[in-house]
C-alpha cells in the first residue's frame, strides 16, 4: 500500500517540528541580543546625553581697576599677581547685582549666591583679562559656567531633597536658579567645551572635558597606524608568500595566533618594563601608549592580512608567474591589490580595538590626572612625548570620582568613544565596498 502525499507521515512531522524548534531558538537568541543592545544603548544614552548640554550664567561683569590692576599700568606681571581668589568676589557681586536688578528676593547670603557660579568661572575671566588687559575698568558680558549642582538641577540630577542634604547648594539656591532661568539669565546650551577642555579637578566637574583624552587617543592611533600597518603587512606578506614552510615558520605562526589571545594587561606590563624602565621614555606619553598598543594590534593585523592574502585565488599568482613576473611582482602587482580591502578592514578593526583598550594604558601611567594640554611643539620630549590621557582611561578615571556629575560625563565619554568606533567601522565598510573587486 502506498501512502498519500496529502498526509504527512510521522518522520516528516518530527523533522519539521525539529526545524521549527531550531528556527525558534535562533530567533530567540537574536531577540535576546537585540534587547540587550537596546538596553545598553538606552542606558548609556540616558546617563550620558546630559553632559552634552551645559548650564551657563550670562552676566555683565564690571572689572574694577582697583582690584585687578593696582598699578594702573596694565603691567601683566602685576596683574597676574591677582589670583582667581581675587576674581571670585567680583563675579559673586555681579550675580548679586543681577538678582537685585531683576527684583528677585532670596534668603540666601551673598556667599551662597556666589556658590551658584562654578569655581572655574573665575579662571575663565582671569584668563580673558590677562589675554586682553584693556578689558580692565570696563563692563564685559561673560557666559559663566554655572556650578555643577545648578547644572545638575536643570538636568534632573539634583532635586530639592538632595540639595537640602548638600553643603554646596540649598533648595533656596535651586529656586533662585529657576527664577534666573525664567528671566533668561541662566541658559543651557550645547557643550562644545566638552570636546575641547582638559580634565578638571574633583571640585569642578562642570569644567571637565575630553580634549586631552581625544588628542591623546588620536596621537596613539597615529603611532599605531604608522608602526603596526607596515610591520604587520610586511611580516604577513613574508610569512604567506615567501617564507619556506618548515618548523620555524610553523612555530612563528602558532606564536602569532597565541599573541592575539594574550590578555592586554600583559602587554601593559611588557610596555612598562621595556619602554619606560629600560628605554626610559616618558610615562603617560602617547608615544609609549602607542607602542604598547602597536604590540597588541600587530597579531590582529597579521592574522587578518594573512587571511586576506590566502583568499586571493592561486590562479592569479599562476597567471602572473606564467607571464614571467617575479615573485615580488606577482605579490605587489596582483595579490596585494586584491587583498587590500581585507587588509584595510583588519587594520581598522585592530585600530578600533586599540582605541578602546584601557588595561595596558593604566600600567604605563596614562591614568594620571592631566590638567594641561601636552605642550606639543615646544616640548623637548617631542610631539608624542608629553603626558596625555586616552578616551577609555578618561572614562575609567571619571567613574572613580565621587561627584555624580563626573559619572554623567563618563557616560558622555563612552558615547564619544562609541561614535569614534562607529565612524571607524563605517570607514572600514566603505573602503571594503570601494576596493572590492570580483574575479
Amino acid at each position: 500500500m502506498t501512502t498519500s502525499l496529502l498526509t504527512t507521515d510521522a518522520r516528516t512531522k518530527k523533522r519539521n517540528a525539529a526545524e521549527k524548534r531550531f528556527k525558534a531558538y535562533g530567533l530567540g537568541a537574536i531577540c535576546i541580543a537585540m534587547v540587550s543592545l537596546v538596553f545598553l544603548l538606552g542606558s548609556v544614552l540616558s546617563s550620558g546625553l546630559g553632559a552634552f548640554q551645559q548650564t551657563y550664567i550670562a552676566l555683565d561683569v564690571q572689572l574694577p581697576e582697583a582690584r585687578l590692576d593696582k598699578s594702573g599700568t596694565r603691567d601683566l606681571e602685576v596683574m597676574s599677581k591677582v589670583t582667581t581668589i581675587g576674581y571670585a568676589p567680583i563675579l559673586r557681586d555681579a550675580l548679586v547685582a543681577q538678582v537685585a536688578a531683576l527684583g528677585l528676593t532670596t534668603d540666601l547670603s551673598d556667599k551662597d549666591v556666589g556658590k551658584m557660579i562654578s569655581k572655574e568661572a573665575a579662571a575663565t575671566v582671569r584668563n580673558r583679562v590677562l589675554a586682553n588687559p584693556e578689558l580692565v575698568g570696563t563692563t564685559v558680558r561673560f557666559d559663566l559656567l554655572a556650578s555643577g549642582r545648578i547644572d545638575g538641577y536643570f538636568k534632573g540630577r539634583v532635586t530639592a531633597e538632595s540639595a537640602a542634604l548638600d553643603q554646596n547648594t540649598s533648595p533656596e539656591a535651586l529656586v533662585l536658579a529657576q527664577e534666573l532661568k525664567d528671566a533668561g539669565v541662566i541658559e543651557t546650551k550645547f557643550n562644545w567645551n566638552f570636546f575641547v577642555l582638559p580634565d578638571a579637578s574633583d571640585q569642578r566637574p562642570e569644567a571637565a572635558g575630553l580634549g586631552v583624552a581625544i588628542l591623546g587617543s588620536l596621537y596613539m592611533m597615529a603611532v599605531v597606524l604608522c608602526l603596526a600597518l607596515p610591520i604587520g603587512v610586511a611580516s604577513s606578506i613574508y610569512l604567506e608568500e615567501f617564507a619556506p614552510r618548515n618548523r620555524w615558520t610553523d612555530l612563528i605562526e602558532v606564536n602569532i595566533s597565541n599573541l592575539a589571545a594574550v590578555p592586554s594587561i600583559v602587554f601593559g606590563i611588557l610596555g612598562l618594563a621595556i619602554f619606560i624602565n629600560f628605554m626610559e621614555l616618558n610615562q603617560s606619553s602617547p608615544l609609549v601608549g602607542g607602542l604598547v598598543l602597536t604590540l597588541m594590534t600587530l597579531p590582529t593585523i597579521i592574522i587578518s592580512t594573512r587571511a586576506a592574502l590566502k583568499s586571493v585565488p592561486p590562479s592569479i599568482r599562476d597567471a602572473a608567474l606564467g607571464v614571467g613576473a617575479s615573485k615580488m611582482q606577482s605579490v605587489f602587482h596582483h595579490v596585494l591589490p586584491l587583498a587590500a580591502p581585507g587588509i584595510l578592514t583588519g587594520t581598522i578593526i585592530g585600530l578600533a580595538q586599540a582605541l578602546g583598550e584601557t588595561a595596558p594604558l593604566l600600567l604605563i601611567g596614562m591614568v594620571a590626572f592631566v590638567r594641561e594640554y601636552p605642550a606639543a611643539y615646544t616640548s623637548e620630549s617631542g610631539l608624542f612625548g608629553e603626558a596625555a590621557t586616552a578616551l577609555p582611561v578618561q572614562v575609567y578615571n571619571w567613574t572613580q570620582r565621587s561627584d555624580p556629575a563626573f559619572f554623567e560625563r563618563a557616560f558622555a565619554a563612552v558615547i564619544t568613544l562609541l561614535v569614534f568606533l562607529l565612524i571607524m567601522n563605517a570607514v572600514a565598510i566603505y573602503l571594503r565596498r570601494k576596493f572590492e573587486r570580483r574575479w
Binding site: 619556506p244 614552510r245 585565488p313 590562479s315 592569479i316 599568482r317 599562476d318 597567471a319 602572473a320 608567474l321 606564467g322 607571464v323 614571467g324 613576473a325 617575479s326 611582482q329 602587482h333 596582483h334 586584491l338 573587486r437 570580483r438 574575479w439
Partner: protein, 253 residues
C-alpha cells in the same frame, strides 16, 4: 626533419615520496603543435609545468633529469625562472585574467619585461596580441573594460593574448578548453592552429578528438610513464602500444 625546440631526457618528478613522472624522454619540434594525452593523474600536466618551471612554486615538488630548450639546460642553477617564463608562455586550464582592464591584462607582460619603449609601441603590442588571439574585433571598443567581464571563451582568448604578448618561443597550454563550450573551443582550436606559425605549442588535453584535430605530434602518458610518442595520425590510427590502443578506443582512462 625539423629542429627540436625542447629535449627532455630521463625526467623524473617527485611530489614528496610519490613519483609522478617516471623516466620521460621526449623531443618537441619547433613550430608544431604537440599534444599530451592520457587519463587523469597520469602526469601530463605535471610534465608540462616542468617545461617552464612552474613546479618550482610547489615546495614538495622535485624534478630530476635533463630538460633543454634550444640546447640550454633550464634547470641549470644559473637560469632565472622568471627569464625562462618570458620565453615559455603558459595558458592555464581555467581562464584566469587579472581583475584589471583588457588592455592592462595584455600589456602587463610587455611592461614588466620592458618590451615597449613607449605607449605607442605598447598599444601596438596589445593590438597585435589581441588580433593573434582573435579577440581584437570583440574587444577593441572596450579595452578599458575589466577582463573578468568577458565570457568564458573570450577570457581564455584574452589569456592567450596575454601569454603571446611577451613574444614567447614556446606556448604551453594546460587543458585550455576544458572550461569552454564547443563554440568557444572551436575558436580556440582554430587559434592554436594559427599560433603554430610562430610558436612551438604544447597542449595538454583530455579530449582525444581535440588532440587529433589540432596536433601534429601526440604523446600518450599513463601512470607517469610516457607510453608512446609519435605522429598524431599514427597514434590514432595505428598505435604500437596496446595501452595506447585501449585508451584511444575508450577501454581505459
Amino acid at each position: 626533419m625539423q629542429d627540436n625546440k625542447i629535449t627532455a631526457r630521463n625526467v623524473q618528478v617527485y611530489y614528496g615520496d610519490n613519483q609522478a613522472i617516471k623516466d620521460v624522454n621526449v623531443d618537441i619540434a619547433d613550430k608544431t603543435v604537440t599534444a599530451f594525452i592520457g587519463p587523469s593523474g597520469c602526469g601530463k600536466s605535471t610534465f608540462l609545468r616542468c617545461l617552464n618551471r612552474m613546479n618550482d612554486t610547489i615546495d614538495i615538488c622535485r624534478v630530476e633529469g635533463d630538460i633543454r630548450i634550444d640546447g640550454e639546460d633550464i634547470y641549470d642553477p644559473k637560469v632565472d625562472p622568471v627569464q625562462l617564463r618570458a620565453k615559455v608562455g603558459m595558458v592555464f586550464q581555467k581562464p584566469n585574467p587579472f581583475p584589471k582592464s583588457i588592455y592592462d591584462n595584455v600589456a602587463y607582460g610587455p611592461k614588466i619585461h620592458g618590451l615597449a619603449r613607449n605607449k605607442a609601441e605598447l598599444d601596438e603590442i596589445v593590438e597585435k596580441s589581441l588580433r593573434k588571439a582573435a579577440l581584437w574585433n570583440e574587444a577593441k571598443d572596450r579595452l578599458a573594460a575589466p577582463g573578468t567581464g568577458l565570457s568564458g571563451g573570450q577570457q581564455q582568448r584574452l589569456c592567450i593574448a596575454r601569454a603571446i604578448a611577451t613574444s614567447p618561443e614556446v606556448l604551453l597550454m594546460d587543458e585550455p578548453c576544458s572550461a569552454l563550450d564547443p563554440i568557444a573551443t572551436a575558436q580556440v582550436e582554430e587559434l592554436i592552429d594559427e599560433l603554430r606559425q610562430s610558436f612551438s605549442v604544447v597542449i595538454v588535453t583530455h579530449s582525444m578528438q581535440q588532440a587529433a584535430r589540432v596536433s601534429q605530434k601526440t604523446a600518450f602518458f599513463h601512470l607517469g610513464n610516457l607510453v608512446e610518442y609519435d605522429e598524431t595520425d599514427k597514434i590514432f590510427t595505428n598505435p604500437e602500444d596496446p595501452r595506447t590502443e585501449s585508451y584511444i578506443s575508450g577501454r581505459i582512462g
